[in-house]
């Protein structure tokens, strides 16, 4: 079994408040598989995704994270992205005055240059961009809009998946990409994600709801409560969780109270 990501005993503080959010988290992701993480509000899901992406506001105090065998904790967020880690943000930032296409081309070239590859040629970029926009049923005019500025909630999420499609990462972390999507948009985004599945690409899908997992079938489901993975299983665990709720998890797996 090939591991894409191995997390051991990860402890993470919010740097500003010196408050421990992840408290000894262990998780292994198998390459090419879809892993789902579910957990109650405030359990630390976004914290995990930020810590993996290298957000400077989240301080790793203990533990290790190996991505494709390499310890990434000392790497900056740009270097992690260049190695193939992608985070679809729960709350994407607006960058006024920067068009989607300009941003995407710069991002692609940053990653290519870091790998010693040539810049993407403009016609090829256009072709791939159009192809991916069609896949995600995004209007062509979208490419010249300013990144996330004035985007609706659904448009922001689609823009995140468009970026995922364009940047071709090895590990894609989706932080509540399904929240705020209506049924049609959810189907489009899920189809997009399914089209991007490959033996080389691992997915970590963070969600509260079973809904998206009906479209994007997970191979594994992990439950995150109070800063730890308390149990893992197959797709059936998501269904069980949905019917029984997190109190059941807390009792069943004797989650110790946070101190």
């Amino acid at each position: 079994m090939e591991k894409s990501l191995v997390i051991r005993n990860l402890h993470v503080n919010v740097a500003e408040e010196d408050k421990e959010i992840l408290r000894g988290l262990d998780l292994e992701l198998e390459r090419g598989k879809v892993h789902a993480i579910m957990g109650p509000n405030g359990s630390g899901k976004s914290t995990l995704s930020y810590a993996l992406a290298g957000h400077p506001g989240y301080e790793v105090t203990e533990g290790e994270v190996l991505f494709e065998g390499e310890n990434i904790l000392e790497l900056g967020p740009d270097e992690r992205a260049q190695r193939g880690i992608f985070l679809a943000f729960q709350y994407p930032m607006a960058i006024p005055g920067v068009s989607v296409q300009n941003f995407l081309r710069t991002a692609i070239n940053s990653i290519r240059r870091a790998r010693g590859e040539q810049d993407i040629r403009v016609p090829e970029f256009r072709r791939v961009l159009n192809e991916k926009m069609d896949l995600l049923r995004v209007d062509r005019g979208f490419a010249s809009r300013y990144l996330n500025e004035g985007f609706s909630g659904g448009e922001k999420k689609r823009a995140e998946i468009l970026q995922l499609a364009m940047l071709d990462p090895k590990l894609a972390i989706l932080d509540e990409t399904d929240s705020g999507l209506d049924i049609d948009a959810l189907r489009v985004v899920s189809n997009g994600v399914n089209a991007l599945r490959s033996p080389e690409r691992t997915f970590l899908i963070i969600t509260h709801y079973q809904r998206i997992l009906n479209y994007v079938k997970p191979d594994y489901v992990h439950v995150l409560v109070d800063g730890r993975i308390v149990t893992s299983g197959g797709p059936e665990l998501a269904l069980e969780l949905e019917s029984k709720g997190y109190d059941w998890v807390r009792q069943e797996f004797a989650v110790p109270e946070a101190v």
């Binding site: 992406a53 400077p56 967020p77 740009d78 006024p96 991002a107 300013y146 970026q163």
Partner: protein, 432 residues
């Protein structure tokens, strides 16, 4: 009087330089009188002191006017402004001297004038007499008086209803340190005419300090449409003073864009007086200060007539130990009902040692108006930075992208592509 010597004598800023400039240009008597009168105003006006309200945050005690030489001729070794843009007219100025003027023949035949001010004073005395100093009189300030006394520059005249299709560009450069230049621009757009005017000042960084003291007067006639762009890219050795004032008449439309990148020090007074009802103006500003640069902007939206609209947006980026002051005033005079006036100044600080002060002011003497102002000073948003870095951009590239986006609403409004590209290159260089 001595016989003219072959070697030009070195002259400092003084009454003698005023007469010499006037004689050298072969100007009519009234023009020389005007200069001498302005020189009198200059002498009678004290240097600004740190205790003057306008100069509280900007110290110019390091400026030694007597140290500069007024060049008696242009230097021969300059980088000419080259461009592939479509232009209706072009003027090259070197060390304060107009060395080249070209204007579309068709426009010339229709009465458009593009000439050095000195020539214009002889050839179009009635126009120059009427307008020169009518918007910015010598009494405006010590520096305005100095520019009137020693100024040389460009006169643009667009007759009634004439549409100038492509921009007119003026490029002004300096070839050596230690000199003082006094660029003076007069733009007169008669009713229902239309013109775009781009003025650029540029030079290398030189060892010795130089001085530029300029005045721009632009008159937009009834129903006319004027676009004015001023780009300051002097080397880091230049003290730059500019008074730029627009007077806009009934139902006219005026857009100004003031760009500051160069100089050691820059003090710019940018004003629009909306004197006829229904007039409308947009005042944009972009500045990027680095190293030890000091910028000081004073803007005024002067609503003299009712039913006018003005919208000001100035955006600045500062790095290293640079410092900028923005002080903007919206003034609504009695009787200027139904005024719509907006003012925004935003500053992005790229280093802990950079500093910007933003001081918005309203002075409203009418009761049926809509006015608002906003100001901000702050560092790059770390969440924006992280978002871009999480896509693979280095911190520097991410910052550059945020800066480009910050300026985009301004750079996208530069009417010549070649000028826009050069500006982008200059900004990129400042980001290095």
């Amino acid at each position: 009087m001595e016989a003219t010597s072959v070697q030009p004598t070195i002259r400092g800023i003084g009454r003698e330089a005023v007469t010499a400039v006037s004689e050298g240009a072969g100007e009519p008597e009234w023009m020389r009188e005007k200069r001498l009168r302005a020189w009198g105003v200059f002498e009678a006006t004290p240097m600004p002191r740190p205790t003057d309200e306008e100069w509280r945050r900007t110290d110019i005690r390091g400026l030694k006017l007597e140290a500069f030489e007024v060049p008696a001729q242009p230097g021969g070794d300059f980088h000419p402004e080259t461009s592939t843009d479509h232009r209706s007219g072009f003027v090259q100025i070197v060390d304060g001297y107009v060395v080249e003027t070209e204007l579309d023949e068709d426009l010339a035949a229709r009465g458009v004038v593009l000439a050095s001010l000195e020539d214009a004073a002889s050839r179009y005395p009635e126009l120059v007499r009427k307008y020169l100093g009518s918007v910015v009189p010598a009494e405006y300030s010590k520096f305005a008086a100095l520019a009137e006394a020693l100024g040389k520059g460009v006169f643009v005249y667009v007759p009634k209803e004439v549409q100038v299709e492509f921009p007119i560009q003026v490029s002004s450069t300096m070839t050596r340190g230690g000199i003082a230049v006094f660029p003076r621009t007069l733009v007169v757009a008669e009713p229902y005419s239309n013109v775009t005017f781009i003025e650029q000042m540029y030079s290398d960084d030189l060892d010795q300090e130089s001085l530029s003291v300029g005045v721009v007067e632009a008159i937009t006639g009834e129903g006319a449409n004027v676009r004015y762009v001023n780009i300051q890219e002097w080397g880091h050795h230049v003290w730059h003073f500019l008074v730029e004032k627009h007077q806009i008449e009934r139902d006219s439309q005026e857009n100004s864009l003031n760009i500051g990148l160069g100089g050691k020090f820059a003090k710019s007074n940018v004003e629009t007086a909306l004197v006829g009802q229904g007039a409308s103006c947009e005042m944009l500003g972009l500045y990027f200060c680095d190293e030890e640069q000091r910028y000081d902007y004073h803007t005024l939206q002067d609503h003299v007539a009712p039913h006018c609209f003005s919208d000001l947006l100035y955006k600045g980026v500062l790095r290293d130990r640079a410092r900028a002051v923005f002080s903007g005033l919206i003034k609504v005079r009695p009787g200027s009902q139904k005024t719509d006036a907006y003012q925004t100044n935003r500053n992005l600080l790229l280093s802990d040692n950079a500093r910007a002060d933003s001081i918005p002011n309203l002075e409203i003497e009418a009761n049926d108006v809509k006015c608002s102002h906003g100001a901000s000073v702050g560092p790059v948003d770390p969440d924006q930075l992280f978002y871009l870095m999480a896509r693979g951009l280095s911190k520097q590239d991410a910052t550059r992208m945020i800066v480009d986006g910050f300026f985009e609403p301004l750079t996208s409004r530069i009417p010549l592509e070649g000028v826009r590209e050069k500006l982008q290159a200059a900004i990129d260089q400042k980001m290095e």
